[in-house]
Every structure is written in structure tokens, then in C-alpha cells.
Symmetry: C2
Subunit: 448 residues, 2 copies
């Protein structure tokens, strides 16, 4: 009898898994159930769609359902929502929104790619139609409709993480007159240390965005956001408070979860339930520096985990060793990147460290277009082990974080980083790349 793999969720983690499983097992029946209209899309591209850099929703779709059907023989069904998993009976309950019917579908293998949903705090008025999340293409479509339907002048973004700041910039680019970011914490971009976050806040203010830190949102009404520091006019509100793993289905089925409620997986992406796999924003990753399970809902991680799950489901052998917490963004022409542990995270992991910060240039100082770059680097006391870095700077600054991510994966000390044979030519770098300058300073700080 033909075995069936059921994939729940048609975005990166699910479809990468489905595709790889198909390669390993041409015989497998693969059904992918996606409750929305789109598969395999770039949610990371939504701010650029709103800001006008990207022309249309379809540009953000990497592969549409028909392509998966034609090229990979994957039975993709959009508008199909899985509402329950029965592990004993090996079947899922499916709601077909297209035909308003419910049916059961048996599985031999099950893959969970249920993703994450925007965190919506229980505040008065949060259900208002002017309050938008930004997590999937349905959200993006609704935002575009709102922007087209009314004259949106005042926008309030709640939360100053990556998506919040990217959206704030997008609304300015789109021509909204007044864009305000409200953040409860002391500085924007909480995944950076505050001294680096403040450089991002400066860039936003130069761009014309009002940044209000240390301010809590208390409720919403049409046209207004109530905060701990008074009311703000708001034709439109965007929630950028981060996401939470969408694991209700898994929890109800008795599948084990861990930190932040995300699904626990082993290095082969197996869940606690036999024959059930998971990948992407719904599950945890192993952090190679802190050596703890973390929830890092990022497209890169989802793709890698999905690939590993799919190889394994297809009868192969693959492991996902883990993450180092790399992220990058561009906010108001300022490039921002981070990897490894911030000071707060290093403290949380019980480590002792020295942190240094240097400024340099993105190209040789004398070369046209040389911009500023600030690099912060953390090294463990005693061992000198590289723990993490943060970069804020002009064009060409951010992608340098990848060197640090690679060195972290290799477990290098900052002294070893100094010796890295990084590329140099005047259009690309000073003769000592800024990453190497930071490593030299960090090595001194830990007496290496």
C-alpha cells in the first residue's frame, strides 16, 4: 500500500520538507494542507511590498501550489485547515474552507509546519479592524486594502523589533505623514544591546520616524492608541510585538513543547511522537553558543530545518546542528546585523564576558563611498571564546556578520578571528576588516 505523508502548513518549513521527502521517496503520496491562499512565500518581504520596493504580492511567492503539483507531484491544497491530529488513529481532521466541509485524512508520516502567529496582547480594542498583524500574505493583502481604501496619515507601530521597524520605514516611504513607533522597552531593537540599538533609533529619527521608548500601549480605539504616556492619533496600527509558535494542534495531540511553547525536536527534526516531524517557526532550535533550546522564527532556519526533516522522512540521514542567532535588516538606510549572544543573553546563559565596540569604515577610508561601521563584539573571559557580535553601519556593513556566524559555529576564540584571511581591496574594506579590528580589541580585553 502507498504510504502517505501529510504536511500541515505550506510555507518554508513545510514545503522544503515536502520537496526533500519527494526526492528521497518517489513512491510516497504527499499531501500538503495550507489554510491560506499561498504557499512558500517570503513574509520577510512584506515591509518592502508596503514600502513600494516590491510591486505585488505575487512577487513574494517563491513557488505556487501548481508548481509543487507539476514539478514535485505534491498534492497541495490551499484553503485547507487542519483542525485536529489523532496520533493513535494516524489521521488529521481537515476543514476545507473552499467547499465548507470537513473530512479526515490518514497519514503514515506527519510533518508540522504550522509556523507562528503575531503576538496579540489582551488589550482593549486589539480586535479592531485598524489593528494589523504582519505575518503572512493574508495580512499583507489586508494592509494593502486598508491603505488603498482610506487616507492613512497617522500610523502607529507597536513594538520596535525587526518587523516593527521595517514596517515603520515602509509607511514613511509610502508617504504616510506621521509614523510613530511605540516600544515598552528602553531602546529599539531588543535583540541588540541598548548601546547598539540607540544607533538604529538615531537613524530612524533622521528618517522622520517618531520613536517613543519606555512607553506602554494600553488600548486601541478607531483613530487613537492609548498609551502610558497619553493618546496617539492612529488611522492604522501595526503590531510588531514578535510572534509565538503556532502549536495548538501539536499541544492538543500531546506532542512535547519546550521554551516559549514551541515544539521540541531532536537534531533530525523528529518530535516526541513517532513518525511526526516538525520544522520552522513552530519549533525550537539548538543554540550552538548558549547550548540551549531557543525559538528563532526565521525563514533561513525554517528552510534548513525543513530540508533536514524532508531528507529524513525520505529515508535519508540528515541533522540540523543548530543556530547561532544570526539576523540582519536594513532600517532607514542603516544596516543592522547580529549573531551569537548579546550581553543580556550572555548573562542569561550564566557566562562572563568582555564587550568591546569599535568604529571603522566599510571601504578603505580614502575610497569614495566609504561609510561608517560600528562593530560590537563579545568574548568569554578566561577562554577568549567568541560569543557574539552586532553590527550597525552604512551600505556594505551588515553582511560582515556572516564571518562572525561562521567563526561562532567553528567555536573560535577572538584571537583566532584576528588571523582570519579575510578579503581586502579598497572598494570593499580597510586593510584590517572591521571584524578583525573588533577581534583585536576583544582579544586585548580578555588578555589574549
Amino acid at each position: 500500500m502507498v504510504e502517505r505523508l501529510v504536511v500541515v502548513g505550506g510555507d518554508a518549513g513545510g514545503m522544503a520538507a515536502a520537496t526533500q521527502a519527494r526526492r528521497g521517496r518517489p513512491d510516497l503520496e504527499i499531501v500538503a494542507l495550507e489554510k491560506g491562499r499561498w504557499t512558500s512565500y517570503s513574509a520577510c518581504g512584506i515591509p518592502f511590498l508596503i514600502g513600494g520596493d516590491v510591486a505585488g504580492l505575487d512577487d513574494l511567492v517563491a513557488r505556487d501550489p501548481q508548481t509543487f503539483r507539476d514539478r514535485c507531484n505534491i498534492d497541495v491544497r490551499t484553503g485547507h485547515e487542519v483542525t485536529a491530529i489523532d496520533l493513535d488513529a494516524r489521521k488529521v481532521e481537515v476543514r476545507d474552507h473552499n467547499h465548507d466541509r470537513t473530512f479526515s485524512l490518514g497519514f503514515d508520516l506527519l510533518h508540522l509546519g504550522t509556523g507562528a502567529v503575531p503576538f496579540r496582547p489582551d488589550l482593549p480594542g486589539i480586535g479592531g479592524e485598524q489593528v494589523h498583524g504582519v505575518q503572512n500574505l493574508e495580512d499583507a493583502a489586508r494592509l494593502l486594502e486598508s491603505l488603498a481604501a482610506a487616507d492613512v496619515r497617522h500610523v502607529v507601530v507597536v513594538g520596535a523589533g525587526y518587523i516593527g521597524l521595517e514596517m515603520a520605514e515602509a509607511f514613511v516611504r509610502r508617504g504616510c505623514a506621521a509614523v510613530t513607533v511605540v516600544e515598552r522597552g528602553g531602546e529599539v531593537m531588543g535583540t541588540l544591546d541598548p548601546d547598539m540599538g540607540s544607533l538604529v533609533a538615531d537613524a530612524m529619527r533622521r528618517f522622520g520616524i517618531v520613536v517613543r521608548t519606555g512607553v506602554a500601549v494600553e488600548g486601541f480605539e478607531p483613530g487613537v492608541v492609548h498609551t502610558s504616556d497619553g493618546d496617539l492619533p492612529a488611522d492604522l496600527v501595526v503590531l510588531g510585538l514578535g510572534v509565538v509558535a503556532n502549536t495548538g494542534l501539536a499541544v492538543d495531540a500531546g506532542i512535547e513543547t519546550g521554551a516559549r511553547g514551541a515544539i521540541a525536536v531532536d537534531t533530525r527534526q523528529r518530535t516526541s511522537a513517532p513518525g511526526v516531524w516538525a520544522a520552522g517557526d513552530c519549533c525550537l532550535s539548538h543554540h550552538l553558543v548558549s547550548r540551549r533550546a531557543v525559538h528563532l522564527p526565521l525563514g533561513t532556519v525554517a528552510n534548513k530545518q525543513g530540508r533536514v526533516a524532508g531528507i529524513n522522512m525520505g529515508g535519508g540521514y540528515a541533522t540540523f546542528p543548530g543556530v547561532v542567532g544570526t539576523a540582519v535588516t536594513k532600517i532607514c538606510s542603516t544596516e543592522v546585523a547580529r549573531t551569537g549572544l548579546s550581553e543580556k543573553e550572555a548573562a542569561g546563559a550564566g557566562l562572563e564576558w568582555e564587550a568591546v565596540r569599535i568604529t571603522s569604515t566599510t571601504r578603505a577610508g580614502y575610497f569614495p563611498g566609504a561609510g561608517k561601521i560600528t562593530v560590537k563584539m563579545l568574548a568569554e573571559r578566561g577562554s577568549g571564546r567568541l560569543l557574539g557580535a552586532q553590527v550597525v553601519g552604512d551600505e556594505g556593513a551588515a553582511k560582515r556578520i556572516d564571518v562572525v556566524a561562521t567563526a561562532l559555529t567553528a567555536g573560535m576564540t577572538v584571537a583566532e578571528v584576528i588571523d582570519l584571511d579575510l578579503s581586502y581591496a579598497p572598494p570593499f574594506s580597510p586593510v584590517w576588516d572591521p571584524i578583525l579590528i573588533a577581534a583585536r580589541t576583544a582579544a586585548k580585553a580578555v588578555d589574549q
Copy 2:
């Protein structure tokens, strides 16, 4: 009695050593002898000076002699050429060109930073004043004078390495009517494999440069270059045939040299002679992939070796583990980078490998400004060890080579590279960075 360190050569390798030695030993007398007019300059910037990106010669000087005197208490003497080393008597013979006199100077410690000189084949007419090398600021000054003095329409560049190609572009930017590159080998940019070099040649031709490969230069006369394929008009000729280590002094003194005549050093930058150190273009480096001594005359290597020599001469302890052969350049708006072993070098090292080549985009495919990038990657058969990579592409392509350089240093397999947590956001990368795509393809090629 005060000990004296004599540094021969005032560019990167020498002055980095002098500066570090000063930090370690405030008591040391340090005399740096430079035969030219400038110290610590960026020879790599000369093409950009000729091309007009950089305004003047002085912009290329990182630190002038007076700064070294004032800040580091280093007695820098320009116009001073060391003409002999007497290891037994612990002294050097110095020609002071400023005052046309010769004197002896004793040393306790000696550092050799004599650099490299352009290779000048023994061809008829090579000594003509229209034939220029491009190695130091004296060469640059002479080139600028020639360009100012006459209407230079036809330029012939002999040799299609980094400096040759950068200079060819510079002459076009400067408005020279006809620029021809003549290369004896089958393709430009011999440090790349020919399939990647041809992408660079294409970019040059689109830029209006005539590229003549497989053509040997046979001699020079004013106004003409004789080649194996006929005569070429040439108001000005630039030699881009690479450099040779400038080690006459060291050889005469009986100091050991190795491959390509460069000075042999240990990991602490000590030469075979007690108390004599060397760094930079005059000496060898250990290649971490081929595990052989190689001559890599690059500013980055010179700075790192100089730093290590200086720490050691200053009483500290430092080692220079080696290089992986990283280089980068920008030719006619095309970015070019390489690290590790090319196919030719892998063969030379007796290895067996698989090579793959992929194309991708520098940003998310849908993002404005997404350019093309081609990545070639080599992996060792059996082990799957990463051996090297080459990158040719549009803006944002080249610096990705640093991830490969770091992974090579860590001794990673291509399968391990796949898992690297590289940064992703639409303005910077597709969700699978091109380096990771290449690693996936390479891993398949070696059955990992």
C-alpha cells in the same frame, strides 16, 4: 645599553612590526629605513588613483613618517636604502640618498620588510621610459607625470592579474581611447579557474577593453609593443606580470629563502638568522589548505605578519598560523573574489576534488537591485572537505568569500557549510545565501 631594532622597509610589514615592537618595549631604540619617500601606503589604491576615484597620492598614505616619530617614537628615515647586512658584525650598511652618503648602523634586532618588486622579463626595450611598473608610490607618481605630460591614447597592459586588470579599467576611466590587455595564458585572472576568469573577461570587453589572451609580448619600442600576434600601438605600457620577493639583501646575508625566492619564516616570523625577523611581501606564508609554503604578496598578510613579528620582537608571544589565499577585486563593475585552492592548485597539491558552479542573486530575486552572482566551489573527494571557492558577480557578491575563508580556516566540510547560520533579509540575500547553495551542490557532488 639601549638595544636597537633596525627595520628595513617602511611599508606595511615593516611599520606594523615597528609599531607593535614599540608597544612591547618602550625602551627599545627603533630605526626604520625606507629607501623611498613614503611609509605605510596603500599600493592597492594606485589603480583607483589613476582611475580618478582617489584624488591624490597623499590619500594613499596611512601614516606618514612624522606620525610614526611623534606617536610611536620610531626614528623613520626616508631616502635611506640598506645596501648590505652583516649578520656577524650585527650591522647594516645604509645609503642615505638625501645626503649622498653611506654609513653603518648596528642592530640588536633586525626586521626585514623589503617587500616585492614587479617582475620585469628580460625583453628588448623593457627599460624604456614608457614602460611602467605599479608597485609603490614612486611608480604611481611617475605614471601620473607621464599621463599629464603627453596625450596618452593607446595603453597596453601586459599581464592579466589583479593589478593589470585594475589598471586597464583605470585607464579607460581616465579617458584613454584604446586600452588593450595582453596575456600569455589562456584566460585573464590566472588565480581563478578559466571558467570563472572568462566571466571577468566578458565584463572587461563590455567595458570597452580589448582583451588578447594567448598572446606573448616580445619587446617594446617607443609607441609600439611587439607581440607574438603582431604589433600594438602603445603610448604607455604597464607591467602587470606579478611581483617577486625583494630578497637580494637577505640572500647575500645568507638568510634562508624558499619557494619563489621568498624568505622562509617560522610561525613567529623568525628567519633562519637569530634575531632577524621578516614580514610582508618579501617572505613566505603557510597555506592552511595545501599545507605548503606559498608566496602571497598582499597587504592584509603583510599587516598580520608584521603585527606578529612586532609582538614577538617586543618580548611578547604571537604566531601567524597562515593564509587560505583570499583575494578580492572589482573589475569594470564586476566583483571578483577567490579563496582556498583553485582546480590547478588542488591538482598541484595532489588532491582529488569535485568542482561545482551555481548562479544565484545577490539579494532576494524580487528585490530591487538584485544582481547576478556565480559561485564555484571545490570539495575534496571522500572527506568532503571544503577546498576553495571563487565568486564573480554584481555589487554585493564578492565579500561573501569571507565566509568561505573562515570555513576553510576552521577545516569545515561542505556539508558543514550548508548548516551555517548566515544572515538573510531581502535587501541582502536570497533565503539560501549563494554560498550555501554552492555548498549544497558541492555536498551532492561528493555524496555527502
